[in-house]
């Protein structure tokens, strides 16, 4: 499948932005600058970016606790994201969310979710709205291998199937739900096979290859917008870091990690676009330079921003009470 020049630049820029953002967050977290917990997306860039490359600005996504990558792929502002992780009032959620609930409804990013499987029912909502109002919008619902065993997964797939909702259920199978390997927790080898239980197409794709993800999600979203209903895509992928920062990763081997580092999504992309002369070294280097600058500026912005006033705790519970 051919991807246009502008889109290829966008894809590289977004994947790099995610990687650099996550690496920067990892460093900041280790020095104690970020409160709470972070769950890093490094390694999985091809999945978020490959899918969101097929989305319009007015489409929606739902996310997981590992939401920074989804935010960036959907166009949420970097400065607002960094400030949110710091808990500053200039954060995209005014410091009320942090990493685990980070969201930007204006950008169609309906939130990172602290409840595994919590986003699957929610994703059916905008899809239902799009159908009732006939807007042609679509939804990508990101979730992990762990969530595929949660009841909400099964309910949401069935509901989307019977109502032919325009939603793509995109499983990021990174082989572990926290410390629990997928081959232990999950009754079947390929989560995509669960699609047949709900009468919808189930596709397996290489989650380390953004071209593969792009093609599979393109087809699924075309189906969705043509009122042919949902698709389940399982992207085989890998998270480079722990479930959360602080995870000693005792449950994985260095060998296994090595095999996935050898298939780094950004490296694979870079190699292919240079070899096939789709992008030039100069174009890539320009993006690399800009990305670093943006991340640096975001950190400065976050550090210089104020914390919210304590009384801010009491606001934004209701529209009116």
């Amino acid at each position: 499948m051919e991807i246009g020049h502008e889109k290829l630049l966008w894809i590289y820029e977004r994947m790099l932005m995610i990687r650099e953002f996550e690496d920067q967050v990892r460093e900041l977290f280790a020095t104690g600058k970020l409160p709470g917990f972070v769950h890093l997306y490094a390694g999985e860039e091809a999945v978020a970016v490959g899918a969101c490359a097929n989305l319009r600005d007015d489409d929606f996504i739902t996310s997981t606790h590992r939401g920074h990558g989804h935010c960036i792929a959907k166009g949420v502002g970097i400065r607002g994201m960094m400030a949110e992780l710091y808990g500053k009032s200039t954060g995209v959620c005014k410091g009320k969310a942090g990493s685990m609930h980070i969201a930007d409804v204006d950008k169609g990013m309906l939130g990172a979710n602290g409840i595994v499987g919590g986003g699957l029912p929610l994703a059916c909502g905008p899809a239902l709205m799009a159908k009732v109002k006939k807007t042609g919008q679509a939804v990508v619902c990101f979730f992990g291998d762990g969530a595929s065993n949660q009841g909400s997964f099964h309910e949401a797939l069935n509901l989307a199937a019977i109502w032919k909702l325009p939603v793509l259920f995109l499983c990021e199978n990174n082989l572990y739900a926290e410390s629990t390997p997928v081959e232990y927790s999950t009754s079947i080898k390929n989560i995509a096979d669960r699609a047949s239980s709900y009468g919808i197409p189930g596709i397996i794709t290489d989650g380390m290859d953004v071209f593969a993800v792009y093609e599979a999600t393109h087809e699924a979203l075309t189906r969705a917008r043509a009122d042919h209903g949902p698709t389940l895509i399982e992207a085989k992928t890998y998270r480079y870091y722990g479930h959360f920062e602080g995870d000693a990763l005792k449950y994985r081997t260095k060998e296994e990690e090595g095999t996935f580092h050898d298939r780094d999504p950004i490296a694979i992309f870079k190699h292919r676009v240079l070899e096939e002369k789709l992008l030039s070294i100069a174009e890539l280097e320009a993006i690399e330079k800009d990305t670093s600058a943006i991340i640096e500026a975001a950190v400065r912005f976050a550090e210089e921003s104020p914390y919210p006033k304590p009384e801010e705790c009491l606001t934004d519970v209701y529209v009116s009470y």
Binding site: F60, T62, G91, V92, C93, K94, G95, K96, A97, H101, A103, D104, V105, D106, L110, G111, N113, G114, I115, G118, L120, P121, L122, A123, C124, G125, P126, A127, L128, M129, K131, V132, K133, G151, S152, E155, A156, N158, L159, I162, W163, T315, D316, V317, Y318, V319, S320, Y321
Partner: protein
């Protein structure tokens, strides 16, 4: 307006119909809200809700706005939340409030918290209609009130009308409200008749109603218990005891001032609640009054509630379980002696 009387059930139906006519974003979803989906037209709208509350709405608004759902509360309540956050104004039915167990995450971790977590950028104008209450021998899982659970959570609102008039006005208000509202319909009073204006009107959330004025004791009662309290009040009027019955109508937000003003006038409080006593609305009212109107009380405040047990099936057992007018009379006497 001349006294047009309709039932509580008809009042709920009328509120839904009028709001669905007024606003194309209002959609209805739930198990058997129509019934017979996908069947030939003559077999559709088979139930109109398990108690017939939503009958006829499919015929007027069609299957795109009146959606029967599979038995998947997590999925369809979650879908209603997501749809509310992105432009619709859904009314989802949770058939019995006891079923909140299977979708509690969507209600209290998602619906209640999205606006706050997203720094005020999200709005969830969702209404969840649900049946509460006992008295129909429906046994433990289908007879609870459980409204204290949803009242507890910041981010949710909860209303429990006791009359047809309040039911229509509060449902209109709930649908128009931009926050998630749990609308509690007491199944025992669906056939209760009362005066209901034909036109569109609103009973505002957060406003209690004095159902009977009195001087000697304040009885705060919820949902069907309002009628239990009114029976007790009528009984006691024969002994020249004047009972004021306050119907909060709205549990969250709660009209604290009306309750406190009543106690400042009567100096006595009895709270009547069909719920189990621990962490109940009754306990909540007593705490409110004890902490904010202590000096006005001439007697310890009393609670009349169900016991700390599940709801039993057998009629004499359920009748023991539910607060009766006689128990309310006794509690009121307890504040006067």
């Amino acid at each position: 307006m001349a006294g047009r009387e309709i039932t509580y059930r008809e009042a709920v139906n009328e509120a839904l119909r009028q709001e669905m006519r007024r606003d194309p974003n209002v959609i209805l979803m739930g198990e058997d809200v129509a019934g017979g989906p996908g069947r030939p037209p003559e077999l559709q709208d088979a139930w109109g809700g398990v108690m017939g509350v939503t009958k006829g709405l499919l015929n007027e608004f069609g299957p795109e706005r009146v959606l029967d759902t599979p038995i998947s509360e997590s999925a369809f309540v979650g879908a209603a939340i997501g749809a509310a956050a992105t432009g619709l104004r859904p009314v989802a039915e949770l058939m019995f409030i006891g079923f909140i167990g299977v979708c509690l995450d969507q209600v209290f971790n998602q619906a209640a918290k999205l606006r706050y977590m997203f720094g005020g950028k999200a709005r969830v104008p969702l209404t969840i209609r649900t049946m509460i209450g006992g008295g129909l021998r429906a046994a433990a899982q289908h007879s609870t009130v459980d409204y204290s659970i949803v009242t507890h959570f910041p981010g949710l609102k909860c209303v429990a009308p006791s009359t047809p008039y309040d039911a229509k006005g509060l449902l209109v208000a709930a649908i128009r409200d931009d926050d998630p509202v749990i609308f509690c319909e007491h199944k025992h009073i669906y056939n209760l008749k009362g005066h209901v204006p034909e036109e569109n009107y609103v009973v505002p959330l957060g406003k209690a109603d004095i159902k009977r004025e009195g001087r000697d004791v304040t009885v705060v009662a919820f949902s069907r218990m309002v009628h239990t309290a009114l029976e007790a009040a009528e009984e006691l009027s024969k002994d020249r005891i004047s009972v004021e019955v306050v119907d909060p109508r709205s549990l969250s937000p709660l009209d604290e001032e009306t309750i406190l003003a009543s106690v400042r006038k009567t100096h006595r409080l009895v709270a009547v609640d069909e719920d189990n006593p621990r962490c109940s609305m009754a306990a909540d009212i007593l705490a409110l009054v004890a902490s904010r109107a202590f000096d006005y009380l001439d007697a310890p405040p009393q609670m009349v509630t169900a016991p700390h047990t599940p709801v039993p099936f057998s009629p004499p057992l359920e009748d023991f379980y539910l607060p009766s007018p006689q128990r309310v009379v006794e509690a009121i006497h307890g504040t006067l002696d």
